[in-house]
């Protein structure tokens, strides 16, 4: 039963081919959208990295300021 050949009418076959074309087009569009999502995610990661560096810089500067104020020059 499982090895029986399957036949499809030609007009339905054409419909199927058209539907498959549409599906392929939609899949391409979805892939493009997903690529954009990935791109945005990379940008977010980059932004987070920039923030991290930024905060480290600010931390260093605040440390310097604090040191300057709490350890005045000795005579």
């Amino acid at each position: 039963m499982e090895r029986m050949p399957v036949f499809v009418k030609v007009d339905e076959y054409n419909n199927v081919v058209n539907v498959i074309k549409s599906i392929r087009k939609k899949v391409e569009e979805a892939k493009e959208t997903l690529a954009k999502v990935h791109e945005y995610k990379n940008e977010e990661d980059h932004q987070l990295e920039v923030w991290n560096n930024n905060l480290n810089e600010v931390e260093k500067k605040v440390e310097f300021i604090e040191r300057s104020l709490s350890e005045p020059e000795n005579y």
């Binding site: 399957v6 499809v8 339905e12 076959y13 419909n15 199927v16 539907v19 498959i20 549409s22 599906i23 939609k26 899949v27 569009e29 979805a30 959208t33 997903l34 954009k36 999502v37 945005y40 995610k41 940008e43 977010e44 932004q47 920039v50 923030w51 930024n54 905060l55 810089e57 600010v58 500067k61 605040v62 310097f64 300021i65 300057s68 104020l69 005045p72 020059e73």
Partner: protein, 153 residues
């Protein structure tokens, strides 16, 4: 008869005494220019940080919009496969996935595998099935497809 009590007179504190309690101290800053530069740069960094926040928020909004678009595209693909292909191809034993678009008619989770793929009328949907979320529905359909695939293999 209540007697009025005179309010205690506040003693005038001389500025010298205040100065004794809170003496004015000065700290010498050895690298004043450098310190000023560091403070200004810190402020600049914070402003850049805040600008980055605005950019990040915009990115997130765009990403949410993209997710919605992706969801629609996947729904279209599902619809094309489900109604477009299934309509013209010989019917197999797989159940249709059209329930995603029509959640108001939940299908019974446990169905016999050999059942014909025609849209099955909901057999006495219980209240539990009615409140089942879309995620549960997807899970059930996925399980069913996996069972079918196992059978095919």
């Amino acid at each position: 008869m209540a007697t009025k009590k005179a309010a205690p007179k506040q003693k005038a504190v001389s500025p010298e005494k205040v100065r004794d309690k809170n003496p004015v101290l000065t700290v010498q800053i050895s690298e004043a220019r450098m310190l000023r530069k560091e403070i200004l740069e810190s402020v600049r960094e914070v402003i850049i940080f805040m600008q980055g926040y605005e950019r990040f928020r915009k990115l997130q909004e765009d990403k949410v919009a993209l997710f919605a678009k992706l969801r629609l595209q996947l729904r279209d693909i599902n619809r094309l496969i489900d109604s477009g292909l299934r309509k013209d191809l010989p019917q197999g034993k797989l159940r249709p996935l059209s329930k995603l678009a029509m959640p108001e008619k939940p299908r019974a989770q446990e169905m016999p595998l050999e059942r014909a793929p025609s849209p099955a009328p909901a057999e006495m949907p219980s209240s539990e099935q009615q409140v089942r979320s879309g995620l549960d529905e997807l899970e059930a359909q996925l399980q069913d497809i996996e069972n079918q695939l196992r059978k095919v293999a």
